[in-house]
Amino acid sequence: MIKMNNTQALRQVQDDLKSQYDPKKKLVTICAGTGCRGYGCIKVKEELEAEIKKQNMDVEVRATGCFGFCEKGPLVIIHPEKIFYQQVKIKDVPDIISKTVAQGEVLEKLLYRDPQTNETVMKEEDVPFYKKQNRLVFGQNGMIDPTRIEDYLVIDGYSALAKALSGMTPEGVISEVKKAGLRGRGGGGFLAGIKWEGSRRAHGEPKYVIGNGDEGDPGAYMDRSLMEGNPHSVIEGMIIGAYAIGASEGYIYVRNEYPLAVIHLTMAIESAREAGLLGRNILGTDFSFDIKISKGGGAFVCGESSALFASIEGRAGEPRAKYVHAVEKGLWDKPTVLNNVETWANVPLIISKGADWYASIGTENSKGTKIFSLVGKINNTGLIEVPMGMTLREIIYGMGGGIPKGRKFKAVQTGGPSGGCIPESLLDLQVDFDRLYEVGSMMGSGGMIVMDDRSCMVDVAKYFLAFLQEESCGKCVPCREGVRRMREILEDICAGKGEEGDVELLEHISTGVADGSLCALGGSAPNPVLSTIKYFREEYDAHIRDHRCPAGVCKALITYSIDPEKCTGCGLCIKVCPTQAVSGEKKKAHTINNDLCTRCGACIESCKFDAINVK
C-alpha cells in the first residue's frame, strides 16, 4: 500500500480499488470468525480453493470476519447471486464449485430451512435471523478480509477520517458525536461526546485514547468478532477520536486469549501506518497519532477503566478510586478517553452519515444500534445487531428463533455476569440502556444468555457469583469477602442446607456490597442475586423450605426416576449412564438406582420418549 499524503490520494486509492472491483464477478466469501473456525471453516476454505484450482476457474475465495449466525456455521456466500449456504462441510465443496459457482445452480440441502414454515431461504437477508437486524457496524464484516486494508478502503473505509481531517474542527467532531447521542457500548453507557469534550478541555500532555477490547463476560463475543472481523473500523474511530480530543497516543487493550483479534489488529495497525493513516502527519496534515496494542492476561476486572490503566502501566490490574475522572487523569495520570471497541466502531458512521441520521435510529436516550451475543437456550446462537429499542421478545423469538425443543422461556440474563435476570413477564421490554437498568439489569457490553424452564435461578445466581468471586481483584473488603459469602450461602441453598432468613441476609450483603465496593465489579456483583430474588423468589423458598429444586437442577435436591408408561425399554439410557445406575431388560421398563445415580443428565439427553422424570 502506498503512503497517502492527502485526502485526495485516499479518494484516488479508493476509486482505483473500486474500478478493479467487478460486481458481476464470481466471489465466494466464507465466515472465518472464531465460531466458524471451531466448525472447521479453514479446511473448507482450503478445499474451496483447491477445487477452484482443480477446475481451472478464476474465482476468489475470501475468508471474512464473522457473519454472526454462529449456530449454523460454517457459512458460505456465493456472489454475485448472494446464495447463502450454511453448515457447509468439506464433502459439499465439489458441488458448490461445479454446480453453484460454475452454473448458478442452487443446492437446496445447503440452504437455511425456516423451522416455522419449513421452506428454504436462498439469500442471507431473507433468513429470519438477519431479516430484522440493522447491521450498521457489523454488516461490513461479511465482505472484508480483515487482513487486507484494501477491502476496507473499497467500501469507503477511512473516508470518515478524511472528512473529519479535511473539513471539521476537533470541536466540530465532538459536537457531532454529542449530537448523535452515542453512548458507551462497554457497560456504563456514558455519553461518548461528553467524555471527549472533558478530555479535550483537560490539561496535560500527552493525551491518550484507548480502545477497550477486554471483553470478559461469559458467553459474550461481540467485541471479539469486531476486532477479528473489522479491525479498521475500530482503528478509524480511534483516530477520529484522537483528532477530536488532541491525543497523540493510543492503545487497544485486548486480552491475549483472543489471539486472532491480536493478529488482525496488529496487521491492521501496521497497514494503516504504511498507508499514512497512522503515525506522523496523518494524510499529510499536522495531526499525528499512533496506536499500540496492549495485551491483557484475561482478568475480568481489567475491563474496568482504572484497572485497565494499571495493567497498561505494568502494574497489577486493580482498580483505584475514581474521584478524579479519567478524562482528566487517566493513563499515567494524563487525560484519557477510554471507550469500548464497539463504541469506536460507531464513530466513522456518525461522521460519514451525520449525527441526525444516527440519532434517528434507536430510542429517545439510546441512539444507534447495539450488537448482542445471543447464547444459552436459544435456537439461533449468534451475534445480532439491532436498533436500540427492539423488544426482548423480537430478539429472542424473532431472530433467536425461540427456545430449543419447544421448551418454555424462563429468563434472560443481560449485561454479563453482573447483569440481572429478566423474567418472561418483561419480554416486551424495549431493550435500551435505561429500560434495562430500570428492571434491575444493565446493557453491559451486550451479552444475552437465554434460559429455559430447566434452568434453576438459584443455581444461575450461584454460577455468576462464583465467576465474580474468582474475578474479584480482592482489593476492597465488600467485594472480596462479601461476594464470597454470598456464594457460600447460595451453595448452601443449592445443597439443601439453606436456612430461613438466608434470602434476607443475601439482600443485606447485596446492599452493602453494591454501596461499599470500590469499583463497578463489586458495585454490580449483587445484581444476579437481587434480580433472581426479585423475580424468582418462590424458587429460593422452594429450595430453603421444601428442599426442592423446581427446575430439577440442584443435584442434592433431586432424584431421577423412569416413567414405566413412557419407557419402551430401548436400553439407550443403560448405554449412556456412566455409573451403571440404570438397569432393566430389553423392551421392559427400566429403573434407576438413585444410590448410584449422579444426576448427570445423560439419560435425559438420550431418551427419545421423555421417560425420565426429575423430581
Binding site: A321, Y323, P478, R484, E488, E499, V513
Partner: protein
C-alpha cells in the same frame, strides 16, 4: 478554605485536604483500618465511607480519598453508610475471628459476628489493608513484601512466600499493621520476621541489641553514613 455541611453543621476545611481529615477536624469520629498516616491511601477497608449529596444525587464515597469540595453536603452516619460499615465489620470478623482490634471496633460500632458466616481459620489477623506493602515500598523503599493472587485467594508476603533477599528486617510493616497480624520475634541477638532470621547489631556503647545488621547496612548505603557511626543505639547517640 472550602465550606461544607457535615452532619448538618457548617464546617470549613483547607483546600486540597481529604474529606476524612475535614470530618475528623470537625470532631466527628470515622472508623478506619487502612488509612495509616505513614503510607499512601488505597481505600481498601471501606470503613470510612460517607454519603455525599450534590444537588439531587447522593452517593457513597470513601472519605479518605475524596477531596473536599465547596458546598458539599456530607452525612457520616446515614443508614446506607452504617449499613456498609456494619457489613464490612461482619465480613472482617468472619475472616479474622481472633483479632481483638476488630472485636473492639465492632463492639463500638454495634456490629456482631454474623452467625451464618463460617469463620476462616487460615487468614490469621490479616485484613489485606496493604499498609505493610505500602510502607515497605514507599517509606522503607525495599518492596520486600507484596500481594499475591486475586480475590479471596489474595495473600500478603515476600515473593513466593519464600525468604526475601531484600527484606532488611526493620519491622516497619509490623508497626503499621492495624491488627497485629505480622509476627516479629526479637530475642536479643536474633530477630525473626517473614520466615527469615536477622542478626541484630549490639550498640557500641551500651551493648544492647537495637537493630538488624541488614537494616543498618541498608541505611548506611542509602545515606552514605559509615556503618560504624550507625552502630550506636538512639539512646546512646
Amino acid at each position: 478554605m472550602v465550606n461544607m455541611i457535615i452532619d448538618g453543621k457548617n464546617i470549613s476545611a483547607p483546600k486540597d485536604t481529604m474529606l476524612l481529615e475535614a470530618i475528623r477536624g470537625a470532631g466527628i469520629s470515622v472508623p478506619t483500618l487502612c488509612a495509616h498516616e505513614a503510607v499512601s491511601r488505597s481505600g481498601s477497608c471501606r470503613l470510612c465511607v460517607v454519603e455525599i449529596k450534590k444537588g439531587n444525587r447522593s452517593r457513597i464515597v470513601t472519605s479518605c480519598l475524596y477531596g473536599v469540595e465547596e458546598g458539599l453536603v456530607v452525612d457520616t452516619k446515614s443508614d446506607r453508610v452504617l449499613n456498609v460499615r456494619r457489613l464490612v465489620m461482619e465480613l472482617l470478623l468472619a475472616r479474622c475471628p481472633e483479632s481483638d482490634v476488630l472485636q473492639k471496633m465492632a463492639l463500638e460500632m454495634g456490629a456482631k459476628p454474623q452467625s451464618r458466616f463460617v469463620a476462616d481459620t487460615d487468614k490469621g489477623k490479616c485484613i489485606l489493608c496493604r499498609s505493610c506493602v505500602r510502607v515497605c515500598e514507599e517509606v522503607v523503599g525495599v518492596s520486600a513484601i507484596g500481594l499475591f493472587a486475586r480475590g479471596s485467594q489474595k495473600t500478603v508476603g515476600p515473593p513466593f512466600h519464600e525468604q526475601s533477599d531484600v527484606c532488611i528486617g526493620c519491622g516497619a510493616c509490623v508497626y503499621v499493621c492495624p491488627t497485629g497480624h505480622i509476627e516479629m520475634i526479637s530475642t536479643g541477638e536474633k530477630r525473626k520476621i517473614w520466615g527469615r532470621r536477622f542478626k541484630m547489631q549490639p550498640c557500641d556503647k551500651c551493648g544492647k541489641y537495637f537493630a538488624p545488621v541488614d537494616q543498618l547496612k541498608f541505611i548506611s548505603k542509602k545515606t552514605g553514613v559509615p556503618f560504624k557511626e550507625l552502630s550506636v543505639c538512639t539512646e546512646c547517640r
